[in-house]
C-alpha cells in the first residue's frame, strides 16, 4: 500500500514498495505563485537526497526542487513542459515532477507524515 511522506523543503513523495513519485506540496506552489516553467530530470538521472533535482520558475524567480531521497529517475512528467501551471492547479496529483527507484528505503524515516507536515507548515 502506498504511503505519503513530506520533506522540510516542501516536496511530497508517494512510495509504493521501492518506487516513488515526487512533487511539491500545495503550500509550496502557493508560495511560489504562478509557475511558468518546470525542468524535470530525465529518466536515468541519479539523484542524491537533499540535492537539486528539478527547477521551477515563477514570473518572478527560479526555485530548486530537491530530491527527498536518493534514487534513480524512471520517468519525468512530460505534461509539465506544455502546461507548467499543472503544478499550481494540481500540485499533488497531475502536477507531479518525476518517479524514481529508491536506493535506500531507510531514508524515508527522516521524512514527515501528513500530520507532522501539517504541523510543520502551521509553525511557519
Amino acid at each position: 500500500m502506498a504511503q505519503t511522506f513530506f520533506s522540510k523543503d516542501h516536496e511530497w513523495i508517494v512510495v509504493d514498495g521501492t518506487t516513488a513519485t515526487v512533487g511539491i506540496t500545495d503550500y509550496a506552489q502557493a508560495q511560489l505563485g504562478d509557475i511558468v516553467f518546470a525542468e524535470v530530470p530525465p529518466a536515468g538521472t541519479a539523484l542524491e537526497k537533499g540535492k537539486e533535482a528539478a527547477v521551477v520558475e515563477s514570473v518572478k524567480a527560479a526555485s530548486d526542487v530537491y530530491a527527498p531521497v536518493t534514487g534513480t529517475v524512471t520517468e519525468a512528467n512530460a505534461a509539465l513542459e506544455a502546461d507548467p501551471a499543472l503544478v499550481n492547479t494540481s500540485p499533488e496529483q497531475d502536477g507531479w515532477f518525476f518517479k524514481l527507484t529508491l536506493a535506500d528505503p531507510s531514508e524515508l524515516d527522516g521524512l514527515m507524515d501528513d500530520a507532522a507536515y501539517k504541523a510543520f507548515v502551521g509553525s511557519l
Binding site: 505563485g33 504562478d34 511558468v36 516553467f37 527547477v55 520558475e57 515563477s58 514570473v59 518572478k60 527560479a62
Partner: protein
Amino acid sequence: MTDAPAQTDGVEDDDFIDEGPAALPLDAWHEAKGARMVPFAGYRMPIQYDGIMPEHHWVREHAGLFDVSHMGQLLLSGDGLDAAIEALVPADVKGLTIGRMRYSLLLNETGGILDDLMLSRWRDGLYMVVNGAVKYDDLAHLREYLPDEITINHLDDRALLALQGPEAAVALARIVTGEYGLDALSFMTGGRYEIAGVEAWISRSGYTGEDGFEISIPAVAAEKVADALCAQPEVKPIGLGARDSLRLEADLPLYGHDLDEETTPIAANLGFALSKRRREEGGFPGHERLMIEREQGAVLKRVGLVVEGRQPVREGAPVLDGEGNAVGRVTSGGFSPTLQKPIAMAYVPTASAVPGTAITLEQRGKLFTGIVTPMPFVPHRYHRKGA
C-alpha cells in the same frame, strides 16, 4: 527587485538593535488587503495580493493601484533654481513650464547614472521624484552640489500612489475634483486636484506603459485615498511583483538593475533624456564623454531580448560571444504575462544591438538564445496630447 533592506554591520554590538525594514503609511492597509509583505528599498512593501499573473493582467485590462511611497519626493526652490539643476542633469529645465513633467537623470562626472528621476514644474518650485533605494544618496548629492540659495525640501510627510491601466481615467474621474477636469491632463503633465476631499498633486504618468496617474498626497490621508480608489469597481491593489513584470514589458529600466553609476545614458539607450539644447550647450556632468559616445556608440547597449523556449533567464546571466567569453549581461529577466514567453533586458556589444540578432546567454551552466527585439515588448498606451 532583489534589494536587501538597509542593514548596518556590527551584529556583535549589544547595543545594536536591527529594526528591520521601515513601515510605510499604508503598511496596515496592505496587510488588511491580504498582501504578502517583503523588504524592498529599506521598507516593508507588498509583493503581491492575488498573485503576480492575475494582477499583471488586471492592470493591462482594468486599473491597478500601486503604493510607491518608498520613492523620494523632493521640492526644490530658490533663486537660480533652473540653472542650478541644469548643472546636475541633462534635461531642459528652463523650458519646463508649469504643469509639465520630464524624465531625467542625475549624472556623475563621467556621465554615469546616479539615479533616474521625474521633474515637474509646480508653482512653488521643481518637484522631483527619485528612486527609494538611493533617495538618501540623491539628497546628499543635491546638498553637496546645489548652491546655498536652493532649498531642498524632502516631502517625507507625503505618500505616493500610482493608478495605472486603461480604466484608470474613468475610475479616478469619478472621485476627483479640481479647477480643471482630469481630461485636461495629457501624458507627462500634472496639476492640483482633490480626491475624496484630500489635496493631491496628480500627474498623468507611470511605470507600466499604460495610461495612468501618479498621485502625491499627505501621508496621513493615504488610507482614505487608497480606500476611495479601491472602492471603484475598475481598481484593485497591485504589488511590486506585477509592477516589475509590467515595467519590463514596457521598456522602463529599473535603477540598481538596468541602470547604475557605471552605465551612461547612451549605453542605456536613454539618449532621448539628453535634450537638444543641453547637448549643444553642455554644462552637465559627463557632457564631453556623452557627446563622443553619441557619435561613436557606447561599448555596450541596452536591448530587449525575447528568449527562446519557456524558461526565463534572470538578472546576472552573462551574454557570451562566439568563443564563450562573457561580453555583456542580463540586467532584468522574467516571464512576460502578456506575451506568454520569457523576455529580458540585457547589455550587449553595440554591434550586436540590432533587431533579429541572436544573443547567447548562460544560466546555471545551460545556454539560451535571446533574439534582440525592439522595445517596448508591449506597445505603450499613453494618453498623449491631441491623441
